[in-house]
């Protein structure tokens, strides 16, 4: 039924902390902090101003660029500021956010959807999904409408729904599949309709039997368009089973070549939560203003439907979680999440989990003994021990030769390392250094081209000056010679008064100014100017 990639980890799931009870809904916070950038792609620009009243679901920021995702007010209220605010970022960076003081009235903007989506054109559906600000909710937050617009020369044959949810602790997709199975399937059908795919595979890790059964049941109950063939497959619970390329390989046996997108192999992969959002956007007309967030790590965990922009502190208060100095607060899962230093950071579209963990004791980092436990578990078959060696010695050419950029940063290598070396951290460092170098190189290239052009222009001006000088000189000489000649002629004529041809001679004087043409400028500098 499925093919297995090499490596990976059997991790303890800790899923039952949060997946045993129905999801709950967080109250409206007093303040919403809504970042302008919650997706991969171009930054959006605010379309509201400080002091504006906004309604729930109103678009407050958008971009003209295709690869971007609109941002909406999650509740009604007043825009109180548009300013930089800390967000979940590895270096705790502050990015531009729209701050809304909520009024608690939940006044909706007029919105409408349709269940007869097949009446609409595919372009219209894509546009609606784009305008609803939907991004991949599995963590990558890539704008969904872009993924729904494959290049015209590729034909998508398989749609894969990712319900693997392979990181420990996180159960929001699990709960969503159990509670909103029919909506997920309808969202899936909309995506399948847009992409014209005949075949859908839903991949779920085998540690979620209830989700699997619920979806199976819903599939038999929901009327999808008849030519759609849907399979639901349970995949082994081996982290990172939900990695896009890993899941595609497990379900279809196709290895997506490095530096290629799945679409180039006729496959498109969407998260189950994204399908739910597509359903909401198309059928109900609700943009992406809330998501299911797993709050877990302590005795009792929860899945909370939370408005985008809710400060984490509000969410923690709601479930009575009290972080202390002994805790580590993580957004995302324990393997790939980001540690937070601040609880005023907002929930964004990417926030699938808030994990409050007891900080593990500090482990002394020891030298690498090349035991190769890391390469044994690497799902991409890299040699983490060699990558580490080159990252440490800053040999950035060699590290790319051994495929640093194929690393998916899943954290398996760091997890098993008996020397407790933060391997993934080294790879991130190396990647950033290489990107910076490339940027610098581009800048340097530009500067060099500019400098070269500057030199060229100086040379050209010098040449032109010289030419002008020469021209002037020749003209001057010619006039001089001509004057002398004329004088001579006149003297001659005086000496020979019988000769009448002197007037003709005067008229035949050549015009010396025609002999020089303009200095031509090469095409090159035109383009540079």
């Amino acid at each position: 039924m499925h093919t297995m990639w090499s490596g990976g980890l059997k991790l303890k799931g800790y899923k039952t902390i949060s997946n045993q009870q129905k999801s709950i809904t967080a109250p409206i916070p007093n303040t919403l902090i809504i970042p302008l950038q919650q997706h991969i792609g171009q930054l959006t620009h605010p379309v509201v101003q400080v002091g504006d009243k906004v309604k729930k679901g109103q678009c407050i920021a958008q971009s003209k660029h295709f690869i971007s995702a609109a941002v909406h007010a999650s509740s009604s209220g007043t825009v109180t500021a548009i300013e930089n605010h800390p967000v979940a970022h590895p270096s705790q960076l502050a990015t531009p956010c729209i701050i809304i003081k909520t009024d608690g009235k939940e006044e909706w903007i007029t919105h409408h959807g349709t269940s007869n989506y097949q009446q609409l054109s595919r372009a219209e559906l894509r546009d609606r999904i784009g305008k609803a600000g939907i991004v991949g909710l599995g963590g990558a937050v890539f704008p969904t409408q872009v993924k729904l617009t494959p290049p015209s020369d590729t034909r998508i044959t398989t749609l894969i729904l990712n319900g693997a949810e392979c990181e420990p602790y996180i159960t929001c997709d699990d709960r969503l599949m159990r509670e909103q199975a029919s909506e997920i399937l309808q969202g899936m059908a909309i995506i399948a309709y847009i992409l014209k795919v005949p075949h859908v595979i839903i991949g779920i890790e085998d540690n979620k039997p209830q989700a699997y059964q619920t979806l199976q049941h819903a599939l038999s109950q929901t009327a999808l368009f008849p030519q759609l063939n849907v399979e639901i497959i349970q995949v082994p619970t081996i982290y990172p089973a939900g990695g896009e390329k890993q899941l595609i390989y497990t379900l279809t046996g196709k290895k997506i070549p490095s530096y290629e997108l799945p679409a180039q192999q006729g496959i498109v992969c969407h998260n189950v939560a994204t399908c739910f959002s597509v359903y909401e956007a198309i059928v109900k007309g609700i943009p992406l203003i809330s998501r299911l967030v797993t709050v877990t790590g302590q005795k009792q965990g929860f899945n909370v439907r939370t408005l985008i922009g809710t400060p984490i502190q509000d969410l923690l208060d709601y479930v009575a979680y009290h972080p202390t100095i002994k805790h580590t607060l993580i957004m995302g899962g324990p393997m790939m999440g980001t540690a937070l230093s601040n609880t005023r950071i907002p929930i964004v579209k990417a926030s699938n989990c808030i994990l409050l963990q007891d900080t593990p004791p500090f482990e002394q980092t020891m030298p690498c003994i090349r035991c190769a436990q890391c390469s044994h578990v690497c799902p991409v078959n890299l040699l983490p021990q060699q990558l580490y060696w080159y990252a440490r010695s800053k040999e950035f050419d060699k590290i790319q030769d051994i495929h640093l950029f194929d690393c998916i940063e899943c954290g398996c290598c760091s997890y098993v390392c008996p020397s407790h070396i933060p391997l993934v951290h080294y790879y991130r460092y190396a990647k950033t250094e290489i990107w910076n170098k490339e940027k610098q190189k581009q800048k340097a290239d530009l500067a060099r081209t500019r400098h070269e052009f500057h030199l060229f222009r100086l040379e050209r001006e010098k040449k032109e000056k010289a030419e002008r000088h020469k021209k002037k000189k020749t003209t001057l000489n010619k006039t001089k010679t001509d004057a002398i000649q004329a004088a001579l002629q006149r003297t001659k004529a005086k000496k020979q008064p019988t000769n009448n041809s002197d007037k003709n001679t005067m008229q035949n004087d050549p015009n010396p100014t025609d002999s020089h043409s303009q200095v031509s400028t090469p095409d090159k500098d035109k383009s540079l100017l």
Partner: protein, 349 residues
Amino acid sequence: MIRSSPYILQKTTLQQIMLKVIYALIPGILVYIYFFGWAIISNLLLAIGVALITESIALLLRKRPLKPYLSDGSAILTSILLTLAIPSIAPWWMIVIGVSFSILIAKHVYGGLGYNPFNPAMVGYIILLVSFPLEMTHWVTPINMIEHTDKLLLNITQTLQYQFFNLLPTHTNIDAITMATPLDELKTALNSSAKTVSEIKDEGMVYGYIGGIAWEWLNIAYLIGGLWLIQQRIISWHIPIGFLSALFLMALFFGTDIDQSASPLFHLFSGATMLGAFFIATDPITAATTPKGRIIFGAGIGILVYIIRTWGGYPDGVAFAVLLMNMLVPLLDYYTQPKVFGHDSSPKE
């Protein structure tokens, strides 16, 4: 301080790995004690002491923290492996020289744990072998051979007196208590063409049930410990399998004249074969790190061991073979990189 992901770690530490390797040596040490006497225990204690002292000196000189590096167990393991490789009645100064050379020169001069290109225990062994060749042949007569020979058995006091004060009981010389190892005996006999293998077998002084007499049990004990290490995922199977199968195949291929050459099984269960295959060649720091590289690394050692044993100047060749293959490790690692996911399908166009 904010750490980066992952935030959960497996609990295994370097110390646990080194300790498990030491545990895996226990069956071998017990068999060693049975055949060669209690002297190994005092040797091991001395070697561990020297290892800890020299490691501390090196760490202090290199301004490294003592606690994490002393407790990682690597220096102790190196000294144990070296001690098990040399004769049980080796005088104290040989252990001091061998162990301190291993730790100070072979390990710390190159940058300490994780940075040494050559197996420290084997560097120490080679230093002793080339400096004190005679003492390195002084293996005491195994207990099961005493009654078949005129050899003497020293008690623990006599052994210690010899090791620390170079005193033997009156009217005894060193030859009266030691004898050549089976590999050595067989090599000498075959090279001088004095006897055939079957004649040697009949004398009952070299061949045991499957390998070298007495030594076969030592090899079996190391094999058991080694298999446990593989089961515990402390070592991978690649190096031992590469080593043992290459040695077996070499012995099979070149040993067609069964009256003039040792059998494949004799090679596998004699000398330092199993200790080398499971405990010495598998030192991850100095071995190849890719799966394919490890098979080739192990096979190279197996081939070299056969060559040295059969045509070389030494009865056994594990130490030389390991060090020679250590030299090839960077090359092996470079040319045996596994295919990265997404790079193995044939490129388009």
